[in-house]
Symmetry: C2
Subunit: 680 residues, 2 copies
C-alpha cells in the first residue's frame, strides 16, 4: 500500500496513495478534491486542467521528480495543438500518476471556486450554481428492451454523473429524440439541480459536446431603476451589466402613488405588471446584445425588489401593501419558470425571487442581508439601504432586526429647491470655510474644486445645474459646522452669521451656494424648506435605526454600512453631523454599493445561499415602525441636527458644532413645546 | 376506563371507549375510521353523516339505548330544516357519545368509498382522488408578526388538516388576498395532494364554505374516437360521458398514415397536435354543457392512448414510432398542467398520462392492464384489446407479458366488401342452418331475426345497409360450421355446397347473405377476399397471443377477456370457430367493454392506482412481434380456420366443424407447400 505513489492536491491539501497509472481526475474524485469536468474524463472539455509541481516539498514531505506524471498522450497533444494549454498545465483525465506528486488545482478548474469580492468586509462568493452541464453517452434504443429515449438519458446521467433526474420540461421531451440522434447518442445536458421543493430537471440538451457556457441574470428591480447583471454560470464572472428606468414610473414616481394607481384604475395593477415585464425584456435584449450571448442560454435568474415591486412583477395586486396591516400575499421565496412571467429568456429558465421580510421590507432588503451578512458579524452592524424608503438592518451573530422607514425622495434630490438626480453638472461635494463662510464645491464629471484653477474649463460642457443627494447632505452638514445653520435647522440671517451669502427668503433665510446668473446659469441656494425636507428624511432614517437599537438594547453600534447607490457617495462625517446615522467611528462607516444587486448575484451563483437567506429571513425580527410608540419620539429628537437629546461623543471629538441658535419668537416656542411633549 | 361508553363503527368494526360527550367525528378520527369531513367538524359541510343503530347487538356484545347519542342540537336542527337529512342520520361532528353505541358510516360519508363495478370479475374502485376540498379558518394578518397571507393559509391547512402544502400556482397567489378577505378569513381550498415527484399544491380557493364539488376527466384518446367520462371527484360517479371523432382522421385513417403525414409534411406533427387538442377541448365543452358543470371546476384529467396518439397529443414528433426500433420519447407516466397542453379546463388542472408499455403497446394497454389486472389474477388470463392494432396481455400473479399485433381495420368492417361501422342497419348477428345453408340475421336497431314476423317493419327506417365487425365474425364462423367454408378459407361453389346462395365471383365464390335488390337495397355477400381479410386479421391476433403463450410456456389459457367496443359484441363461440382466440371454455371468454377507458377512470379516482400501474408496467415483459421468428410461423398456422396445426378440443366438444375442402388445382399445391415449410 505504502509503495503506491503519494498524490497531494493543493490548495485543498487532500492526499492519498494511488496505484501507478491512476488518472489525476480519478484520484481527485476519490479524495473528494474539487476538480471540474463536464465530459466525464473523455478528454473533450478541458475543464480538469491541473498544474503539477516538481521539486522538493518539505512541507508535504515529498520530492516530486520530472516524470511523476505520465508523458503527454495523443489526446493531450491534440488538445494542446488545437485549443492551446497554458504552460505547465495538464489534462487531469489524461495525465496519470507515476510517482509521488503535488498537483495544484487552479481556481478555474474548481467547480466551487471563489468569486472574489473587493471590499475588505465582504465575503467571497462560493460558486454553486443551480444549473450545470454534463456530457453523457446514451444507450441506443433496443427493440427487445423497449424504454424511452428520455429514460436512457436519465440512466446515463445517473450512471455517468450520479445525477438523479426524473423531470423535463415539455420542450425537452419534444426535442430529445432528434437531439440524441443528431449527437449520435452523445449529448451535453444542462441540468437544474433542484432545490428543497423541486427535483432536478433537464433544462436543455445539445447534440454532442457543447463548448459554450450557460448564463444567469441577477436583477435588482427598483422602483426607479431596473439593474441587471448577466453572469457566466460557470466562471461566475459578470459578462455585462445594464440598467433602465422602470417603465412603471409613468404610473407614479413613488411606490404609494403606484399602489394608488392600481386602486383608482380597474386593471391598473395588470398594466403595471405588463409594463415592468416589458421593461425587463427590453433590458435582457440589451444585455444579451452587449455580451453577444443568445438569450435562450440564460437558464436562471434571481430577482430582488421591494414588496410593491415584488407583487406587481408577479401580477399580484399591491392593494394590501398600501394599508395597515400591510399584508404580503406571500413572504416566502418564489420559484417559477420564465414563461410564467412572460420573460423572453430560456422558456423554462428558473426564476427565483428572494423572500420579502415584511410588508415594508422587501426581497431587496433580504438581498442586502445576504450580501452584508449582519447575522455573521461579530460586531454589531447597522446596515442602511438608503432610497425613498430606507431599509434598516441591525444585528450580529446573536440576532438581526429589520425595519423600514419612509425617508421620502429628499435624499435623491427631489423636494429640494435646487435638487436634481446625480448627473454631470450636479454639485456632489461641498466645503464651507468656518471663518469666511465661503463655500467651494465639486460637480459630477470633474475632479476640480470650484476654487481651483481650470474649474470653469472643466465644467464648460456640463455647467453647474443643481445639487444631487450626496451634495445636499454635505452642504447642510458644512453649513451646520460653519455656524450658518443651528441645531433646530434654522439658517441664520446675514446679520446673525456675518455672511452675505445668507439671504432673506420670505420669513426665513437661504444660503447662496452658487450664483450662475451672470452666465445665464442657475442660482443655487439652500433654502430653509430644503433643510426641513432633509431633516424629515434623516429623522425618519435615524429614528428607524434608533428603534432597532432600542429593541436590541444598545445605545451604540460597532459598524455602519451604507448600501445603495446613494450610500456609495455619502461622506460618513457629514452624514453623522446631520445625525442621519448613529454616532460611530468614522472609518467604521463604509459603503457597500448596490448591496441588493450583489445579494441577487450571490443567490444566482450559489444556490446554497438561497436556503441560507431564507433561513436568515425567517429568523429576522421584524419591527413595524408605524405602530411603535417610541418611533415618534425618536423622530422628534432626530429632527434636530444632529439630535436634540442623544449624544454623539465620537462626532464631537472630531468636529466642533457651534452652539448657535437662530430661533426667534414663535419658532422658539414651538420647539420648546415639542420638547415638553417628548418629556411628558 | 371501562366505564366510558363503547363506540363501535360499522362496516369497519373499529371500536373504542370514549368519554361521554365525545363527538362521533372525533371518535371516528381517533380510531382511524374513514369518516369524511370538509369543514373539519364545524357543522357546515354535512359530509360526516352517520346512522346510529338502536337495540341489541349480540354480535358486538352491546345494547344500544335510544339516548346513546346526544339530543339534536341547534346546528343539527338548523341543518336538517334547511338542507334536509335522511331519517335516522346524524351529523357526526355534532352528535356526541352518551352511552354504548353502534354507528354505521354510510358509503357516501366515506372518503375511500368503493365505486362498484358491475362485472363479476372486475374489482371495485377505491376512491382516493388526487384533489380534495378542505375548509379552513385562516389567521388574520398582524403587523407585529408579518407573514404572507399565503403562509397563514398554509399554516391553517397544516394545523387544521395536517396537509403540508408549500406550493401554489401563480393564479392562486394572484387571487389569494382577495378571496381570503371575501370569505372573511374562512375559505375552502382544493388541494392536489401531490405524488412521488410533486409536493401538494393548492389548486383553487373559494371564499367561505364551497358547497359544490370538483371534477375530473377520464379520456380514452383513440385513433378514431376520443371518448371521455366526466367524473365527480367526491362521489366517483360518472356525471356525463361523450365522444367524438378524432379530428386527426383527416390526416390519415390509421396510425401509420398519420406518422407518414408528419414525415412528408414539415410541421405536420404540430398540425395534428393542434387538431387533437382542439377536438379534446370541443369534447370538454360538450361534456361540461351536458352535465351543467363549469369547466374551470375540472381539476384533474387522466389520458390513455396508443403511443402515436400519446406523442402527437404531447407535441412529440411520432417519427421514431414509425420505424424500428420503435423508440418512445418517454415510457414513463407524464404529469403536467392543463395549460401546457392548451386544454381549456382549470388552468392548473393536473394532467396525467399513463405510461406506455413499449413503442407499439401504449398507455391504453397500460389502462387495460389496470382495469383487468392480469397481474392480480390467479387464473392465467389473456386480455385482448381489439382495434386496428390489437394489444395483447397474458399473465397471472406470477408475471405479465405484453405485445401488440397489427390486425388492420378488417375487424371494424373496413376492407370488407359489404362492411360498415357498427350503426343502425348493420347486420350484427348471423345464424346459418347447417342443413339448408339458409341464413337468418339481426341488424343493429332491432331485436327481431330476419325470419321472424315483423322483421320488415322493424327495419323499415334503418334498412339493411351492410355487415359490421361482429357480424362478419359471426357470418364467417357460421359459414364454416355450415360447411360452406373450408378450413383454408375457401368458399365452396353452389355445386360443392348444394346451396344456391354460393355464387360464382370471378375465380372464387361468394355467399349471398341478403338480396335487397328487389327493394332497391344492397345485395350483401361475403366474398372470398372478405374471408382473406378476416383471416389475416385474426391470424395476426392469434399469433400475437400464441407468441405470448410460448413465452409463458403454456399451450392453454384459463380465461380470455375481450376489451374494446368491438370485443363487447363478439360472440365467444364464433371467435373461437374462427381461431381468433385460443381454445377456452366458452363461459371463460368475457367482454370487458372499454377497459382502457375504465382504466383511465380508475387512475382518475384512485391516485394509488397510478403508482400501482406504473410499477406493473415496469414489470411487464414486452415482446416485439416484429422480431420474433416464431410469429411468422404462428401467423401461417393461424391463417387456417380455426388453425392448421393447433388443436381446439374444447371448441370441438361443442361444435362440429365439417371436414370440407374446396381447394382445386394450384391453390391446393400452394397450401401443401405452406404446410411443408411449416414442418421443415
Amino acid at each position: 500500500m505504502s509503495s503506491d505513489p503519494l498524490v497531494i492536491f493543493t490548495p485543498s491539501g487532500k492526499r492519498g496513495n494511488f496505484p501507478v497509472g491512476t488518472p489525476v481526475l480519478t484520484a481527485a474524485r476519490q479524495l473528494g478534491v474539487d476538480l471540474d469536468s463536464v465530459c466525464g474524463g473523455r478528454g473533450i472539455c478541458s475543464k480538469c486542467q491541473v498544474t503539477p509541481s516538481v521539486g522538493e516539498f518539505p512541507k508535504h514531505g515529498v520530492t516530486v521528480s520530472e516524470d511523476a506524471l505520465s508523458e503527454w498522450n495523443a489526446v493531450e497533444e491534440r488538445y494542446k495543438s488545437k485549443r492551446g494549454l497554458i504552460d505547465g498545465r495538464r489534462l487531469g483525465c489524461q495525465a496519470t500518476v507515476q510517482g509521488d506528486v503535488v498537483i495544484d488545482v487552479p481556481p478555474e478548474s474548481q467547480v466551487h471556486k471563489q468569486v472574489v469580492r473587493k471590499r475588505a468586509e465582504a465575503r467571497d462568493i462560493t460558486m454553486n450554481p443551480s444549473t450545470r452541464l454534463y456530457y453523457v453517452e446514451v444507450e441506443e434504443p433496443d427493440m427487445h428492451k423497449p424504454s424511452g429515449d428520455l429514460q436512457r438519458l436519465y440512466e446515463a446521467l445517473k450512471n455517468q454523473w450520479d445525477v438523479d433526474v426524473q423531470r423535463v420540461e415539455m420542450n425537452i421531451l419534444q426535442d430529445v429524440q432528434k437531439v440524441l440522434r443528431q449527437g449520435q447518442w452523445k449529448v451535453t445536458v444542462a441540468v437544474h439541480l433542484g432545490d428543497h421543493l423541486r427535483r432536478p430537471k433537464i433544462m436543455h440538451v445539445w447534440p454532442g459536446f457543447y463548448e459554450g457556457t450557460i448564463y444567469g441574470l441577477a436583477v435588482d428591480l427598483g422602483s426607479t431603476t431596473i439593474a441587471a447583471h448577466l453572469c457566466d454560470l460557470k466562471s461566475g464572472e459578470v459578462i455585462a451589466s445594464s440598467g433602465l428606468m422602470n417603465p412603471q414610473i409613468r404610473f407614479g414616481e413613488d411606490l404609494m402613488s403606484r399602489v394608488s394607481y392600481s386602486m383608482m384604475n380597474e386593471g391598473g395593477d395588470l398594466e403595471m405588471t405588463r409594463a415592468v415585464r416589458e421593461g425587463m425584456n427590453a433590458l435582457f435584449v440589451q444585455l444579451a446584445a452587449e455580451a453577444g450571448v443568445d438569450k435562450a442560454l440564460i437558464v436562471d435568474a434571481v430577482f430582488v425588489c421591494n414588496p410593491v415591486m415584488h407583487h406587481l412583477f408577479l401580477g399580484i395586486d399591491p392593494f394590501e401593501l398600501g394599508q395597515a396591516p400591510f399584508a404580503l400575499a406571500t413572504n416566502e421565496s418564489i420559484s417559477l419558470s420564465a414563461h410564467e412571467l412572460d420573460l423572453n429568456i430560456h422558456p423554462s429558465a428558473r426564476i427565483y425571487l428572494l423572500p420579502c421580510i415584511a410588508g415594508h421590507v422587501g426581497a431587496d432588503a433580504a438581498a442586502v442581508a445576504l450580501s452584508e451578512a449582519p447575522d455573521k458579524s461579530e460586531e454589531l452592524v447597522l446596515v442602511v439601504d438608503v432610497g425613498t424608503n430606507a431599509e434598516i438592518l441591525l444585528g450580529n451573530t446573536d440576532k438581526v432586526l429589520a425595519c423600514s422607514s419612509p425617508t421620502g425622495p429628499a435624499f435623491e434630490g427631489a423636494q429640494i429647491s435646487s435638487g436634481q438626480r446625480a448627473a454631470p453638472g450636479a454639485i456632489e461635494k461641498v466645503e464651507i470655510n468656518p471663518e469666511t463662510k465661503e463655500p467651494r464645491f465639486r460637480v459630477i464629471g470633474s475632479e476640480i474644486w470650484s476654487d481651483e484653477d481650470g474649474f470653469s474649463e472643466a465644467i464648460a460642457t456640463t455647467g453647474i445645474t443643481g445639487i444631487c443627494g450626496s451634495g445636499i447632505i454635505e452642504v447642510i452638514a458644512e453649513m451646520r459646522i460653519a455656524g450658518i445653520l443651528d441645531a433646530s435647522g434654522l439658517i441664520g440671517s446675514a446679520e446673525q452669521t456675518g455672511s452675505a451669502r445668507c439671504i432673506a427668503d420670505g420669513r426665513t433665510n437661504a444660503y447662496l451656494l452658487w450664483d450662475g446668473s451672470a452666465d445665464g446659469g442657475p442660482t443655487i441656494t439652500v433654502t430653509n424648506p430644503d433643510i426641513r425636507a432633509i431633516q424629515m428624511a434623516k429623522a425618519a432614517l435615524y429614528s428607524g435605526a434608533r428603534l432597532l437599537m432600542d429593541k436590541f438594547g444598545v445605545d451604540t453600534v460597532d459598524r455602519v454600512t451604507l448600501a445603495g447607490a446613494f450610500g456609495a457617495h455619502i461622506s460618513a462625517k457629514h452624514a453623522m453631523v446631520l445625525g442621519m446615522i448613529p454616532d460611530c467611528t468614522i472609518d467604521k462607516v463604509t459603503s457597500a454599493g448596490n448591496a441588493a444587486g450583489t445579494g441577487a448575484r450571490i443567490a444566482l451563483l450559489n444556490t446554497d445561499a438561497r436556503r441560507e437567506i431564507e433561513e436568515t429571513v425567517r429568523k429576522i425580527e421584524k419591527i413595524e415602525t408605524a405602530v411603535e410608540p417610541r418611533f415618534q419620539e425618536h423622530f422628534v429628537n432626530a429632527s434636530a441636527i444632529p439630535n436634540s437629546v442623544e449624544p454623539f461623543p465620537i462626532l464631537e471629538s472630531i468636529v466642533d458644532l457651534p452652539a448657535v441658535s437662530f430661533n426667534t419668537g414663535g419658532d422658539k416656542e414651538a420647539a420648546g413645546g415639542r420638547r415638553r411633549r417628548r418629556r411628558g
